[in-house]
Symmetry: C2
Subunit: 505 residues, 2 copies
């Protein structure tokens, strides 16, 4: 009560209920919310908004919003709003099962956008005006500056671009987050842009707080709720094999002088496999590592704690409940070496290229020529989105994609004749890894790549089918630079759609 009063006095802004705050959002508005990989998203206003939308629909009224975020959120946000058909358009990333179904049923328009592009596109005006931003913060300082929460995402841009701002102050977030963020306020529109003065993943180039003009704050809502549980399974045998192949390769590169013993800044996509790679690096005696990545998962936290990792830069802290507890209990140990930045900076092409990141991302499938599909199951169903994989793959020192060689109990080969959707082209994919092995594609022509991918990465159950396709393509293809049989190129996917297996009948 006391703190509410003082917050009121400080802000001259009503502290109100989520229900009341959600009434500020009207049908057709463009609403930009915080949230990145299930961290730092608003916990209360989206649910209250969903209730209003449901009530409006029951009255026969149309009520949908255009919804922008940092990346994926949680059931309390995407799930609730999707379940009441409250989302007209969604960008730039999602991973919610309910929302995914609506998108793939053709009921929600979804824009799948590079993580580093979103803020600048908003500034360029490509997404139109932003009516309201709903931003979770972990606190409001006496001077009015905002202490960011467990993710930064696009919050700086949403606050700047939105006509009005609803703040959710989540008192459940660790108080030790204060001071951990680095918010760079020197971006500009071309032709006024300057170099971004970051030379090392641990550099701080901005200040720790977000700024918002007090007159823009329409409401403050107090919450006390944890982030979504971002639990990962313990690395399984497949993940450990993939990690082993990649670590052998990194050692090989060190021996040949193409990587320093401390490697180069690691980028690790979200998921169990990339989590396993990071965990194994810790066990394998590496030290003095750094990370310039998008999301900090449990395994990186362990390496920071163990002294394997000197510094880590990200835009989101996506931890399991146990990881979050460890983080909160030992925050002093982490705060100096962990920096959360706006996603525009954490994924910036200029910085990824300058730092020479080692990019490690999962994939849905790769074709024998090294084109990678990160987004579309069977070419048509969106899974999540491209996220930051393109920001890193395109500009990294080494661009690696990792996956088990099969999926769905062996009915799907992750290595296919032709990718059914391409998010990363042959030009941007250097290394493919499955539990079967690692294909180093650097310096190889398309046909050399195909031979290597089939030999090293394909599952034995599909290897001869791939070899047969490739051999016939080499004989019969119209052009023999990138040999394909156009009638057959997508038949594996079509077979799966028709009879739930890519295997020969």
């Amino acid at each position: 009560m006391n703190s509410t009063t003082s917050l009121n006095a400080r802000l001259r802004t009503p502290v109100m209920s989520a229900h009341d705050a959600s009434a500020l959002i009207r049908p057709g508005m463009t609403v930009a919310m915080s949230g990145f990989t299930g961290a730092g998203y608003p916990k209360a206003v989206p649910g209250a908004l969903a209730e209003r939308i449901e009530a409006a629909h029951a009255r026969g009224e149309d009520f949908r919003v255009r919804l922008l975020t940092g990346a994926s959120t949680a059931p309390e946000l995407d799930g609730k709003l999707a379940s009441v058909d409250g989302i007209q358009l969604r960008l730039p990333y999602q991973s919610d099962p309910t929302l995914r179904e609506k998108i793939n049923a053709g009921e929600v328009d979804y824009l799948d956008i590079h993580v580093s592009h979103v803020a600048q596109h908003a500034w360029f005006g490509f997404y139109g005006d932003i009516d309201i931003a709903v931003i979770e913060v972990s606190g409001i300082r006496p001077d009015g500056q905002l202490i960011p929460s467990t993710s930064v995402g696009n919050n700086k841009t949403w606050i700047e671009r939105a006509a009005g701002v609803i703040l959710e102050v989540n008192e459940h977030q660790p108080s030790g987050l204060d001071g951990m963020h680095d918010i760079y306020y020197q971006t500009a529109l071309p032709p006024h842009r300057k170099p971004i003065p970051l030379l090392h993943p641990g550099d701080r180039i901005g200040g720790p707080y977000l700024r918002c003009p007090p007159e823009k704050i329409l409401a403050v809502v107090k919450t006390e709720a944890p982030d979504r549980s971002n639990a990962f399974s313990e690395p399984d045998e497949t993940s450990r094999q993939i990690a082993g192949h990649l670590i052998d390769f990194l050692r090989h590169e060190i021996r040949h002088g193409r990587l320093p013993p401390t490697l180069l800044p690691l980028q690790s996509g979200v998921g169990n496999i990339t989590n396993a790679v990071v965990a194994e690096l810790g066990k394998e005696g590496f030290g003095g590592l750094t990370a310039f990545t998008e999301v900090l998962q449990d395994s990186m936290l362990d390496l920071l704690g163990d002294g394997v990792l000197d510094a880590a830069s990200a835009t989101s802290l996506s931890l399991s409940p146990a990881g979050l507890a460890r983080f909160a209990n030992h925050i002093a140990k982490y705060r100096q070496r962990l920096i959360l930045r706006p996603q525009e900076i954490s994924n910036h092409p200029e910085l990824v290229r300058r730092l020479g990141c080692i990019a490690m991302n999962g994939m849905i499938e790769a074709d024998i020529f090294g084109n990678v599909n990160s987004t579309h199951v069977m070419g048509t169903r969106i899974q999540n989105g491209i996220g930051g994989s393109g920001d890193f793959a395109r500009n990294a020192y080494l661009s690696c994609f990792l996956s088990a060689s099969t999926a769905k109990n062996g009915t799907i080969s992750r290595i296919v004749p032709m990718a059914s959707h391409v998010d990363h082209t042959e030009h941007d994919v250097a290394v493919l890894v499955t539990e079967q092995g690692l294909a180093d594609l650097r310096g190889l022509s398309p046909k050399e790549r195909a031979r290597k991918v089939i030999e090293k990465c394909a599952h034995p159950d599909f290897r001869s089918m791939l070899q047969d396709y490739f051999d016939r393509a080499c004989r019969e293809s119209y052009g023999k630079h990138t040999p394909h049989l156009l009638q057959e190129a997508l038949s594996w996917h079509q077979n799966y759609v028709q009879r739930s297996s890519m295997r020969l009948p």
Copy 2:
């Protein structure tokens, strides 16, 4: 004779014939040559090498080399070496008819690489050791520094990385080239990279000359020969219509405050259509423009001469004979405002993003969802290569792709259901333009993009076929985020391969 003697004395290096110099190149060597879009390539040594290769083959000996350049060269280089089967591997770009045939027959391994990636990949060691560099320069200064020729390309890197260097001093190149280049020597390997201090296309951040340790120079060959004729046809009606649509769009963006009246730095791919766009900009009253591009064609030279273009940055001067004469005659007028840089800098992602380029590139085809194929005819036959289109499209402020809506007398639609090869993904394509119209894809979901592309860009002869495909896909597709009919998606290409037309029989 006198100048040869003085050159000898200055260099302590034998001035020798191309025939003798070519004997330094032995079978299996990796040879890095100068040359970018038919400018600044060595004129004599490649032909002499081809003669040696032909003689060796006649004796039953194997003699092929791995050949690296900046980009495309000319019949005297790629043509001659390909015609004697002297090329084992070629990178990063080519446009020679003879070489193209060998690649598409499966006889030459070809690596198609982003223009900005080549130098760093060579430094990273991804292409192995470089045995000999053959570099055309327009002169050697008394202090031993090298005056670059009409292209810079990868010459800095080739000289630094090669074990030995053969210089071709081409006295036919305009002497006024001296002072026009800007060679940036501050690149480094990660983790030692610094920001590149370029804020404007006209900035000079290095010095005008290339450096080569004298002990590395194995031979100096004197030549006196023009670059390949890079003549372009006068803009035809189709090109003018495409230019008109794009210029209308740029004016629209200026009116809405999304572009300044002086636009943003222009990048213009090589070709008649992009040449026409630049020419039309000059006629339409634009002024104070700048260009940050890869190749300077005739039309940009005209705009520099007319004062429409304030400054232009490129890596190659690819002019028609008439353009080259104008350039040589008025070199003082151009030299201050025209800068030729290493291709690593002219196409650098850091700079393209910072400057906010307007990227305008041709294409082979686009699909209805905005994926662009820049390289493969019918998905399998390489045309030229990706060149710099990816460097710019991925990082530009606006990424535009331009093409006539049909090819081969209307038998090929440039707008297809599914691109048969993807070089630029949906994430990186903002605007598609044909003579039919312009599709602004910013902020649109896949299905919205498809409707817009079919309506605005497709040729009327193919529009209803595309609409029919899309309508059926929206009903029958496995997933309805990016609707496709997998059995039919590549059938247009297959039809063309089988019966030389994409039209319905």
